[in-house]
């Protein structure tokens, strides 16, 4: 057991625990908190892989900005505890086999690709390498994606303004 492996298992356990709590918790705020735990644990896993920039951005964007928005909306709407309906019982019965199947497929895919992933260039993980990739080799898709987000923002604005 190297120290890295111990840290990996702790973070992985934290992430899984957070994900299970996210589904099992009855109150939306508790679910949101559990999701934050998952985000932070994932950031730790990225850090373990040497991707320091991605880890920091994961916390800033997902853990900070997006989840604050979630918590804000839950607080603003004063959402109460979720109710158990017959549909949610069906979802529980059908969901567990589906979840098992999905994790099985994922595990098989990861096992098959483990050799290819080991040869991936490490430089891409650093801040400099990442920006080289983003602004030199993939600059066109990158700019297109930001354009797409701009369009989405405009769409939201139009929808919000329609009632006036």
């Amino acid at each position: 057991m190297t120290p890295q492996l111990i840290v990996f298992f702790v973070l992985a356990a934290l992430a899984v625990l957070g994900a299970v709590t996210l589904i099992a918790a009855r109150h939306p705020i508790h679910s949101a908190l559990a999701l934050i735990v998952v985000m932070v644990a994932l950031a730790g896993l990225y850090l373990l892989q040497g991707a320091e920039f991605v880890a920091a951005v994961q916390i800033i964007v997902y853990g900070g900005a997006i989840m604050v928005l979630f918590v804000f909306v839950i607080m603003l709407l004063n959402a109460g505890e979720e109710e158990r309906t017959s549909l949610s019982r069906i979802a529980r019965v059908a969901g567990i086999p589906l979840a098992l199947a999905l994790s099985g497929f994922l595990a098989a895919a990861v096992l098959r690709s483990s050799h290819a992933a080991a040869q991936a260039p490490v430089t891409a993980a650093s801040t400099r390498g990442l920006s080289m990739l983003l602004f030199r080799e993939f600059v066109f898709p990158f700019e297109l994606t930001s354009f797409l987000i701009l369009v989405a923002i405009l769409g939201a604005l139009v929808l919000a303004q329609r009632e006036n």
Binding site: H27, I29, H30, L33, I36, V40, A43, E52, F53, A56, V57, I59, I60, G63, G64, A65, V68, L69, V71, F72, M75, L76, T127
Partner: protein
């Protein structure tokens, strides 16, 4: 016994890091306590009052009394609160605020010392990260939850409104805060706080002015500094942006239902955030530990001891004439100690050279903290719509313009 020493020696890195953490925590908590006294005193003098005066000479023991009071007060749990989140919120607030100080470097030279014949070397500051600035922003981003969750978990109207205000305010100003430092990152080419300071070393204008980011080319970061400072005040929920705890509207805002030490934790978290933000402003815009004077002026090395001596003599004179017997004993004692410290710096050149960096750093941080208190004493609170307008319509466009202009400046004139 020798086994234990050997184990400690093998893991000296860990041991030194732990000792540094403990030391920083101890110093920090003391500073936080006295910062509350400092704030009350300065506010009082701004408003032509004396401030705390009864507990100890000049109210110097007031923080101690306040701490004891916080410890022994009744700590009621209101009915209908979400117990787990209610307890988690103050903990999150304080822990994240204290963690963020771990990445701040306090001085240029590493500290060298030897224990039992082995040489050790350690930098001033707990960790030196490649992504120091990003880590700081990540911790700040998580810091919102302390206030927001406290407001929600209290199950009460005013705290909920305070929590809502705080999360909206922090979301709006975090954008401006992050954008305002991009210019500095472009000029330094690094997220590492130490490298950001090193990039500001050197002189300009015939060696008269320091090459601090706030005034130095290719594009002076004066706009960036303005955006950063305003956004930072809003991020720390301080006046004039303290809408989450506006007394006249929301009783005490998000911490209305908190008492005893849980309230103290929010309080300490706020002050710790204030210190972090001031440290960051010093590092990014005012050259960190670099001296404002040219290095050729060797007399500037005696400024720390001169300041200490003046302070010590003032305390001595004031102490002799103080009304109470305790004051007559304590104040001259402290004054003599300061004078002795000043003499020590005067006669031990290596020590004096070593403290130059930390001295200038702490002095700049202190000036920023004074600015914070000054602003609280003089500016009225903003209205909520004004707050949002400033964040989205003024600060964000300004900081984006700053990024554009800085990049153009670097393209045209190059770095330096």
């Amino acid at each position: 016994m020798t086994d234990i020493i050997n184990i400690l020696r093998q893991h000296s890195f860990l041991v030194i890091a732990l000792v540094k953490c403990g030391l920083l925590l101890f110093i920090l908590l003391t500073v936080l306590a006295y910062l509350s006294l400092f704030e009350r005193k300065v506010l009082a003098h701004i408003q032509s009052r004396w401030g705390p005066y009864r507990v100890g000479p000049h109210g110097l023991l007031q923080p101690l009394a306040d701490g004891l009071k916080f410890l022994f007060k009744e700590d009621p749990m209101p009915a209908g609160v979400d117990r787990f989140v209610f307890l988690l919120a103050p903990f999150l607030s304080l822990a994240l605020a204290l963690t963020s100080l771990a990445v701040i470097p306090f001085g240029p030279q590493p500290l060298r010392f030897s224990i039992l014949g082995t040489q050790y070397e350690t930098s001033l500051g707990i960790v030196d990260l490649n992504i120091g600035l990003l880590v700081l922003f990540a911790i700040t981003a998580l810091g919102v939850y302390g206030v927001a969750l406290a407001g929600w978990a209290s199950n009460s109207k005013y705290p909920l409104l305070g929590g809502l205000r705080s999360s909206a305010q922090m979301m709006s100003y975090e954008l401006a805060l992050t954008m305002s430092v991009v210019g500095v990152i472009l000029m330094a080419g690094s997220f590492n706080l130490r490298e950001i300071v090193t990039a500001q070393e050197g002189r300009m204008f015939f060696g008269l002015l320091p090459r601090w980011n706030v005034i130095a080319g290719p594009f002076p970061q004066i706009i960036g500094f303005f955006c950063y400072f305003v956004a930072a005040i809003a991020e720390t929920n301080r006046a004039p942006f303290d809408l989450p705890e506006a007394e006249s509207e929301l009783v005490a805002g998000f911490n209305t239902e908190y008492a005893s030490f849980k309230f103290a934790m929010f309080f300490m978290g706020e002050y710790a955030n204030m210190i972090t933000v001031s440290c960051l402003a010093t590092i990014m815009f005012f050259g960190g530990w670099t001296s404002p004077f040219p290095s050729a002026w060797s007399w500037t090395h005696f400024i720390p001891s001169a300041l200490l001596a003046v302070l010590g003599v003032l305390l001595l004179i004031d102490g002799i004439r103080y009304e109470t017997i305790l004051g007559k004993l304590v104040l001259p004692g402290v004054g003599t100690a300061l004078c002795a410290l000043s003499a020590l710096l005067l006669f031990f050149a290596p020590v004096n050279n070593y403290i130059q960096g930390p001295f200038w750093f702490l002095l700049k941080v202190f000036i920023f903290i004074f600015f914070y208190v000054w602003m609280r004493g003089t500016l009225p609170r903003f209205r909520y719509d004004q707050l949002m307008a400033i964040g989205w319509k003024i600060l964000l466009p300004l900081s984006i313009a700053n990024v554009l202009l800085t990049s153009l400046g670097i393209l045209k004139w190059g770095l330096r």
